[in-house]
């Protein structure tokens, strides 16, 4: 079946839409039939192991590689046949620090502003936004990892994108830089920018994303709001960390009858000192749907 014939008309408010999106490299099915519909102004997270197909999905949605079959649209434009309409309105923070090493931070942003044909007066404003001194005259090769990532984030905002793709943007960053990035993303979403985020950091996804999809072996295996995912896939797995009068610590699962009985006995005997309940995390959900933890690596 041809690519175009796979498409259905996009929802009017959809920023990103895919239908049976596939990308195969020979026998390897990097993306294997992904259906997504992401609304404008939504922060959407795509989580999965290395090699799950997240970056390939982003490559197709950012018009850098053709789907093998199926199709997608961004801001209502086809990702294969209407790339010139998409490119000026999106931007990307990739999974590597791809900067020209001999340019300064300001020269880098001037260059990209000229490429996009946008107002160069935004350069200093964006450098300040990401916490960099606009007068810094050092070439990029002398910047720290965190500083380079801040420049990349500023670069991704140079054309005021309507859809921003963030491919593991905080990987390798120090906590301060990660916090800065999360603050910027939060503000962008509040201002109506659609954010498509891939990350290994479940807490980051939980904090930022309106909805999350878990991807495994090229397929979406779960999709919903963080709360709905927890309820649907790990809702009955509530745990409690218990401290007794003798100082011993125990973890009990409240979905198990024998653990509930132990907890009740400690309570009746007066041995119970503290109880801290622990709700299921997205990591638990991921294990539940993908069958292994996120940090367990790629399927080979």
């Amino acid at each position: 079946m041809g690519y175009a014939s796979c498409m259905t008309p996009p929802a009017p408010d959809a920023a990103i839409l895919t239908r049976d999106l596939r990308k195969h490299y020979g026998e390897v099915r990097a993306v294997d039939g992904v259906d997504l519909e992401i609304a404008r102004g939504e922060c959407f997270g795509l989580l999965g192991h290395n090699g799950a197909g997240k970056s390939t999905t982003i490559r197709m949605l950012t018009c850098r590689t053709d789907p093998t079959s199926g199709g997608g649209s961004v801001l209502g434009h086809d990702v294969v046949s209407d790339r010139p309409s998409i490119r000026p309105r999106i931007n990307l923070v990739g999974d590597r620090q791809n900067l020209h090493p001999r340019l300064t931070g300001r020269a880098t942003l001037r260059f990209w502003a000229d490429l996009y044909g946008t107002d160069a007066s935004r350069v200093d404003e964006l450098l300040l936004l990401v916490g960099l001194d606009p007068d810094l005259s050092r070439p990029m090769k002398d910047y720290s990892t965190g500083m380079r990532q801040r420049v990349i984030i500023a670069r991704s905002l140079i054309n005021a994108p309507e859809v921003l793709f963030l491919d593991e943007p905080t990987r390798g960053l120090d906590p301060a830089s990660s916090r800065t990035l999360r603050g910027i993303v939060h503000d962008l979403v509040e201002q109506g920018t659609t954010v498509f985020l891939t990350t290994h950091d479940m807490a980051e996804a939980d904090e930022l994303c309106d909805r999350i999809a878990f991807m495994s072996e090229g397929r979406i295996v779960a999709l919903g709001t963080p709360r709905a995912l927890r309820l649907d896939h790990a809702g009955d797995r509530v745990e409690a960390d218990v401290t007794l009068a003798d100082g011993s610590e125990h973890r009990v699962r409240l979905d198990r009858a024998d653990d509930r009985a132990r907890l009740e006995a400690w309570s009746v005997s007066g041995d119970l000192r503290t109880v801290h309940t622990r709700e299921p995390t997205l990591a638990d959900v991921f294990v539940a749907v993908a069958g292994r933890p996120l940090d367990a690596g790629a399927v080979t």
Binding site: T65, R87, L99, P101, R102, D114, L115, R155, N159
Partner: protein
Amino acid sequence: MNLRRIRTLYRRDLVDAIRDGRILVAIIIPVALAIFYAVSVPDPNERVPVTLALHGPRSSQVVEQVRSAVQRTVDLTVTPVTSARAADRAARDDPDTIGLSLPADVDRRVAAGSASGELFVPRDSSSGADLAAAAVAQVAARADDRPFALDLDTTLVGDAPNDAFEVLGLATALGIFSIVMLAGFIGLLVIPVLLVEEVALGTLEALQLVATGAEIIVAKLAVGMTYCAVAIGITLAASPTDLHSVVGYAAAALALSIALAGFGLAFGLALGDSGRINTWAGVVLTPVLIPVFFVLGDDQPWRTVGQALPTGAAAQLMAQSANPAVDQPVLVPLLVIAAWLIAGFALLRWLLDRRSA
């Protein structure tokens, strides 16, 4: 294609890439070689400059006969001086100058058989000055009507040289070789390195978000052409090469550079690493440069082989632009370069399509 984006990409690459030592060296070496050849290799066809400091009439049969006698070997400049003493002084001061003092009515006196004059030859005279002095003595002897014991008539015999080296002179031929080397370095090393560096840094992916692949490649080709044009300009300005058509000469080199760039970019994408391009470009350049010697030499089978290759074809065009007397064809080399250009970019397109898929 968007010209603003191409211009932006071009400007950045033009300033940024020259800071890369590999690219700088690839441009400097051929330029330095070309200048070295032009300055240090003697041209066998070059006439030796000699000044004749003349006291006496500027126009006389004696002076015209001297000029005629030395015209194949000496570039004679006649400089009038006001006295025999001034002619003497001019010769003392410069080994390339001889002095000659003749009476104002020298032609009438020669006809009457009573002419006399003074010839001043520096003791440290150059070979050109010696030749000119001998010619003056010979003309004077004829004027005195004293026949030589052996009077020789010179006749040029045999075919005109078919060897472009001989017609152009070694310095010009080696200059063509150096400029072909420059175009080869630009096409096979500089432009591919510009692109592969973007791949290695990951900046190509970022650029592809805003610019098309064609715009990125056109910008890099334009940078390569600019480096090539500037380097040719520096070479010609710094070397005393006398070219019949500078525009044709430079255009042939630029056309070669573009023709090779398609293969260079394909070669670069296949190797995928600028360090490996740097290593292998030297190996690839050797067979690419040898056809220059084939087409400028007179061995017909090898010349035919060289003419079918882009560097040989460009060398033919450059030789023709340097000196039309070499009588090299123009249309066939143009078609050969065009064919290689199309083949190179077709190969590149095929590779890019495969990568995209």
